[in-house]
């Protein structure tokens, strides 16, 4: 590898390390155990959502609905638990909601041929409306089963279970995307759909799968989010939309440059959460975060994202 390739492949990652060291040195309280655990918890929610968005993007589809679908799943869980349904069933229903939303997106894209940029916007709006319909506009708070809350707040030793779940999901997503036939079929579909189809790959299935994994990720995140906050409300995952997209796009600037990849999305999520957290600790105004996010999104796409351009302009 020459110097240019090293910068292209690891530059963003090294910048993340530098950011971490900077915050350790200069951001008051950043290094405290409580703050670091809080950062990792935020990374958990964000990275699982970003993995889903990444899978859809590997298939060259944009899923702009994942945050609203996550909120809808959360509300479904909250509603069912508030009506005395056993929590495992409520969790299953929440995850299923995400999967169904993903399947719907897949159907819209592959059968009705509505570009994902548009169809997932539609799904996002529908999910948002349904979430408000279920809650009547208020949040579900109140009594939650202790076993359920353990999913979001429990610890094994000193390590929050939510972080263990996230690492397990990271490992599964990494293996699926880089070490299995299904993973390369999704990639081939995203890279050149016609070449993949002529090679006997079920390209429609791959697109549906990519979008469904995004829905699944939204459903899983909803479980952890509700269990962690012990409440469920429409729009509760709203902030994850731009953050999740930014994490994925930032991830495309590392490891396998210009391609969406799971490890990159994970590090991207780490960097974005650290940055937000650090900015608050350093006393920056709240609006700086939004400006920063916008810059990350635009800059990442400018340097790398041929895949994204393909997905967005497949109209």
């Amino acid at each position: 590898m020459n110097a240019k390739q090293i910068v292209e492949t690891y530059g963003t990652f090294l910048a993340g390390v530098a950011l971490f060291l900077f915050l350790l040195g200069f951001a008051p309280n950043f290094a405290s155990a409580a703050n670091l655990l809080n950062v990792l918890k935020q990374v958990s929610f964000l990275s699982i959502l970003a993995f889903g968005f990444t899978f859809a993007l590997i298939a060259s589809e944009l899923d702009l609905s994942f945050a609203n679908v996550c909120s809808l799943s959360a509300v479904v869980i909250g509603f069912l638990i508030s009506t005395e349904v056993d929590w495992p069933l409520a969790v299953a229903a929440g995850v299923t909601t995400g999967i169904v939303a993903g399947l719907l997106n897949g159907f819209l894209v592959t059968v009705l041929k509505v570009p994902s940029l548009i169809s997932t916007l539609g799904t996002a709006s529908i999910a948002n409306g349904l979430a408000f319909m279920i809650t009547g506009g208020v949040a579900f708070v109140g009594r939650w089963d202790a076993d359920f809350l353990f999913l979001g707040r429990g610890k094994v030793g000193v390590v929050p279970v939510i972080i263990l779940f996230t690492l397990a999901i990271l490992a599964a997503a990494l293996i699926l995307s880089t070490q299995t036939r299904t993973g390369v079929h999704i990639q081939a579909t995203g890279e050149n759909e016609e070449a993949a189809r002529r090679s006997g790959i079920n390209t429609r299935g791959c697109k549906v799968l990519g979008l469904t994994l995004s829905g699944l990720a939204a459903g899983l995140t909803a479980v952890f989010l509700v269990a962690n906050l012990s409440s469920a409300a429409p729009q509760m995952a709203g902030d994850f939309m731009l953050n999740g997209i930014a994490a994925t796009l930032l991830g495309m600037t590392m490891f396998t440059p210009a391609k969406p990849n799971i490890l990159g999305s994970f590090v991207g999520a780490l960097i974005i959460v650290m940055l937000s957290n650090g900015l608050v600790l350093l006393g920056a105004q709240y609006y700086i975060q939004d400006i920063m996010l916008g810059i990350i999104i635009i800059a990442s796409v400018a340097v790398s994202a041929s895949v994204l351009k393909r997905a967005a302009f497949a109209l």
């Binding site: 890279e191 002529r198 090679s199 006997g200």
Partner: protein
């Protein structure tokens, strides 16, 4: 003996364009059958139909005397027909070995999981590639770093890897230099020697004359003539230019 492949009365329209207006093609087992004709004659359209990439509006296809319908490329591959298309259809941003094994990736079992066997795919890719172009040795290189001729070699390797009994090549030497062209022609001969049936589309009349057992000439979406026996490049060119339908 039943023809290996028989297409009868194939019609295909693209909107108002009548690409094929009742074309028939019989290919005997183990022969090299060339399909020739001017630009736009319908050769690639016929090949796409045999490969399951496009579906005919009318007409029948039979393999070894049995009627088939290829409603997807997968169906044609399963029936033993592998095709190198004129537009190649490679994924430029993926590695050479990933393109060669696209859709037929090799796996191995690791702790009960079926994971990709990348080392073996790279090794076997190198083997396929050596038959065509031994200057390409890094199977991890992306296809977009290759020349047109080298990409063609990748597309040909992808077809070889299916180990199909019928290999269809749509202008396989179009982008190739002298040496690579000779290697592809050699490969076509060795396919025949291995008992495979070959359909070859080419504008290079001397190649067709040297290789083909029979030649079917298409003209504006119809059969013009099918020729057999000793053929010279000049005679073939005469047929294509004149539209002569006599054998």
């Amino acid at each position: 003996m039943a023809p290996r492949i028989s297409a009868t009365g194939i019609h295909k329209n693209y909107g108002a364009v009548e690409a094929l207006r009742g074309v028939s093609l019989d290919v005997r087992p183990g022969e090299i059958h060339a399909v020739c004709g001017d630009n736009g004659a319908g050769k690639s359209t016929l090949i796409k139909i045999l490969a399951g990439v496009e579906q005919p509006d009318r007409g029948e296809i039979a393999i070894d005397g049995r009627a088939v319908r290829f409603d997807s490329p997968t169906a044609a591959l399963k029936a033993g027909l592998a095709t190198i298309h004129q537009d190649l259809a490679v994924a430029p941003d993926m590695a050479i070995y990933q393109n060669i094994f696209m859709g037929a990736e090799l796996t191995r079992s690791v702790l009960g999981l079926r994971l990709l066997d990348k080392a073996r795919m790279r090794k076997e890719s190198l083997g396929y590639m050596a038959q065509l172009n031994d200057s390409i040795t890094d199977m991890n290189a992306k296809v977009n770093a290759l020349s047109g001729g080298q990409r063609q070699a990748v597309a040909i390797c992808r077809a070889l890897r299916w180990n199909a009994s019928v290999v269809i090549l749509d202008e396989p030497t179009a982008a190739l230099g002298v040496r690579e062209t000779e290697q592809v022609l050699q490969l076509v001969r060795s396919l025949k020697k291995a008992g495979k049936t070959v359909i070859l589309i080419s504008h290079a009349m001397q190649d067709v004359a040297a290789l083909a057992d029979r030649v079917t000439i298409l003209r504006t979406g119809r059969n013009q003539v099918t020729l057999e026996g000793d053929l010279s490049a000049d005679a073939l060119a005469h047929y294509i230019l004149s539209g002569d339908t006599r054998h």
